[in-house]
Symmetry: C2
Subunit: 550 residues, 2 copies
């Protein structure tokens, strides 16, 4: 029997020392449980994605020194740790994305990644040379086909790569597959992951052990969901999003957990979409603050649904005492914008909030700028000024008290540019910038499923920026039901205007919306990082030119 | 004799219709000159870089339709046009980066790019499958080895790729090399390009024709510099940065220009660094505005060297009547901050400027926020408020009058975070964000070489943000001479702290500066696009994680 511990580490990118210490600590815990092999995720020594730190030779050297130090701890136990490996040949990229097999106090073997994802948020071919040599890893007589993340993901009818590493490895007759991964969450990903593991088991007819990074790195949230799956389809899953270690026993080509697993072995694929999204956003906020060395958040609470949701998520992530809501009513603010916010504050039990009016400052700015407006009529300028006064207030308060400002823009607004740069688009982290407005409502409903946390009045009133008398979002934008569908087809599915019109959407509306999306690329360039929960988030997953015309 | 026209197109990214019309117009001009073959740059049909537009199948279809339409014009003439080519196989990426050879009214042949750059600002492996088949192109009996940009750039001792396409093509005994490129400018690039062409000629012993895109696409400026080079080392260069067509004659394996070339065949490599940088920045501003459909710029003129330089560059790019300087003095502004700015305005002949004081608005904000500052002492908050009032003013004026705000931050400030988000870091385009402060001074000297355009007093006074009484940059930062050297070694050369200390820089200073660079990644995430003139600009060329710790 082989006892294997899977550790779904939540590393801190580039923090090699902290990551090493954690890895060593897990190895020592595993020793106490009689484990033979401990397996850590892809690039676990430096965390995923290390990005251009990989271009610093000293950074790579430090990763390798740390792995050698970890190897010294591997006596009476073996470990698999992910890290960058220097390519000894002059030809090709300088590095491989590798798994280091540590045993008997040293590096026994290295296995290199073959398929390098370079789409969406991934840039691996920027750093790594693809592998072209294949060999198994053996531990206590068990022969293992060890692959790295993407290596298992090429099994469809339109494969992105021209080869499958498992097609080579299966020739050596392995007993099982091990895949070490750093595979970020999106609400469609757990289901795809499940299918990919099933497809591999079906094709190669051996069980798989899968270990994935957990925790958030800026905009990417990793959902762990590490698991084993047998050829009969039974699977045993680790809890999601959080760091964890579980021990599994391999015997007669069958894998079973040593202890009972939490969540009764539930796949992330079997949770509801909004439960997963809530989980991801809370983890995303928590790790952004923790890994940045901050504990306190500030945000502007407008009385609308977006800021209410962010307030709730931040409270869950950081604790009610660490989130400061600021109400900044103007002359155009409805009474309920304040009363609804106060109700939310009460529901959450916030001890502190500020109410800072913007009118007197607005008037002073208006008076100062009037001579320079050259008698031109009021337009979006005046609305933007109000939004920017609010941005200035919350930034000043965050500077004074040491908060990070949470941005409350949603994906629909960001898509069509319905927001003010340096005003409501300001912040250190965009919490719900990957949720369309209709998804924002659905997540609020999920949050309110057991009790009314977000006041119902916030959920039923018509959305408004309240920047001029009686303004409604629907004055400028189509209903979110239809807007969000068009945006989804364009952004998530890369459909064209013509394709959308063929689907039955009204031509003028489609052209207007797509034009808005394209022309507002310059605004999105300047947004804070956006926590990614969809398969196509604004940010590094969608790279569009700014001065283009299409 | 073969007559070849090289056209260094300045395309508009994604504007397939406009690019096609231009291409057809050049083909018709070439016909009138009796040209046999017209050669356009890499991806000329859609402009480089098209980025994620390539993920839209309709976009690719439209490129291919446009190329077919151009082919219809190719009667009695042949043309080479760059564009995306659909990969007919299910395996591998869906596209190739290709050259379409058009002749006798149709697409006669396609040549695919082998080496796909995926470093710095390049992401080609995100979209394209590398080529693995080799063949020559023939026109009027002349056998040509046609390659695409990076295909010629793998000739050093530590090559990035494991093969050289010319090693395959030379086996077919071509008469000359043609390389179609989209190779962005940096001040080191013209020299490298010259060396690469010489290396290829030396190795393969045939002449080369090189055609490169011109003009700017958001942050990337393409310097054209298209040229032919013979095996005896003689070269004939086209003018830089601007769109142009030149006809060359190929006879007995020797290439000569049909007409005299401007600039007496000068290589960009032979111009001075600051002449090229000025050229690039002016082209960068001009194309950003033109391709965005704007003509007028606004900027805050502080009396310092950075905004003075941006004012001059914008005036050269857009015309003095299209640049509106705004002076926003505070109680901490020195008298000369206004008088020096007015002198610059006079030197340039600006008809209009605004002077908008910030004191009354600052006082109103201070009074409003005082109760919420909870008696904490003055800190950077108050400085940021002043900067953000200025940001709010210039954004309001730009919204009211239809300007784009030019950002005036330099690379030294951006590196260490010496700037205010949503204040002086605001803008649609960062003009000098890729120039260290010491380079800013050198470019000013270059501009003043014949007459004092930038008032000398601006160049000799000590740099100051003027956000508190008597403030100087040197209160917070080391001398720019030393700061910029450390930054250059870290940012351009990826040296580590230890390597810098070994070079002789003071350890505490090095650690402090590198820490500042790393911790301010969150600010740089929100900067406007930065015109790139160095080999490593902030933006897509340097991708660092935000919550990392190293």
């Amino acid at each position: 029997m082989l006892k294997v511990a899977l550790v779904q580490l939540n590393p801190h990118v580039a923090n090699i020392e902290e990551n090493s210490n954690k890895i060593i600590s897990y190895i020592n815990q595993a020793k106490l449980k009689g484990v033979d092999l401990v397996v850590f995720p892809e690039l676990s020594i430096c965390g995923y994605p290390p990005m251009d730190f990989l271009n610093f030779s000293e950074f790579v050297n430090n990763c390798n020194k740390a792995i050698n130090k970890i190897a010294e701890e591997c006596t009476d136990i073996a470990a698999i740790v992910g890290g960058p490996l220097v390519n000894p040949l002059p030809e090709g990229k300088d590095l491989y994305n590798a798994a280091f097999i540590l045993e008997a106090g040293k590096i026994k073997q290295t296995i290199k990644k073959t398929l390098l994802p370079n789409y969406d948020v991934f840039d691996e071919y920027r750093y790594f040379e693809p592998n072209n040599e294949f060999q198994l890893v053996t531990c206590k007589g068990v022969k293992m086909a060890l692959t790295i993340c993407e290596d298992l993901w090429n099994l469809n009818s339109n494969p992105l790569y021209i080869k499958n590493p498992m097609d080579e490895l299966i020739k050596f007759e392995p007993d099982l597959m091990i895949n070490i991964a750093a595979s970020p969450f999106s609400y469609t990903h757990p289901q795809k992951r499940k299918e990919v593991l099933i497809d591999n088991i079906s094709k190669y007819n051996i069980p798989v052990m899968y270990v994935n990074q957990s925790g958030a790195q800026t905009e990417l949230v990793f959902d762990g969901n590490s698991q084993v799956m047998n050829t009969d389809g039974t699977s045993f899953c680790m809890r999601s999003f959080d760091e964890a270690m579980e021990v599994f026993c391999v015997e007669n080509n069958y894998i079973l957990p040593l202890d009972n697993l939490r969540k009764t072995y539930t796949q992330n694929a079997d949770f509801s979409e909004y439960e997963l999204i809530e989980w991801a956003l809370v983890q995303g906020i928590r790790d952004y603050f923790k890994k940045s060395g901050f504990s306190k958040a500030i945000l502007g609470l407008s009385g609308g649904v977006d800021s209410a949701l962010v307030q709730v998520l931040a409270t869950k992530a950081l604790g009610v005492e660490n989130v400061l809501p600021v109400l900044m009513p103007s002359q155009y603010s409805s009474d309920h914008s304040v009363s609804d916010s106060l109700k939310l504050i009460e529901n959450l039990g916030c001890k502190e909030h500020f109410i800072v009016p913007i009118k007197s400052v607005y008037t002073e700015i208006e008076n100062t700028l009037k001579p320079f407006f050259l008698d031109k009529p009021a337009n979006v300028t005046e609305e933007n000024i109000q939004s920017r006064i609010r941005g200035l207030y919350v930034m000043a308060l965050s500077n004074k008290h040491g908060h990070i400002l949470l941005n409350t823009s949603n994906k629909s607004e960001l898509a069509v540019g319905y927001g003010t740069l340096y005003g409501d688009m300001a912040g250190g982290l965009s919490v719900i910038g990957d949720l369309y407005k209709t998804q924002v409502y659905k997540l609020c409903e999920w949050i309110n499923k057991d009790q009314e946390i977000i006041p119902n009045n916030i959920l039923i009133k018509a959305p408004s920026a309240e920047l001029r008398p009686g303004q409604k979002d629907s004055d400028s934008l189509p209903d979110y039901d239809i807007l969000d569908k068009i945006l989804y087809h364009y952004i998530e599915e890369n459909n064209s205007a013509n394709q959308l019109i063929e689907m039955g959407y009204e031509a003028n509306l489609v052209n207007r919306i797509l034009r808005l999306v394209n022309m507002n690329e310059y605004k999105r360039k300047q947004t804070p990082p956006i926590l990614r929960v969809s398969p196509r988030a604004f940010g590094s997953g969608r790279r569009m030119p700014i001065v283009a015309k299409y």
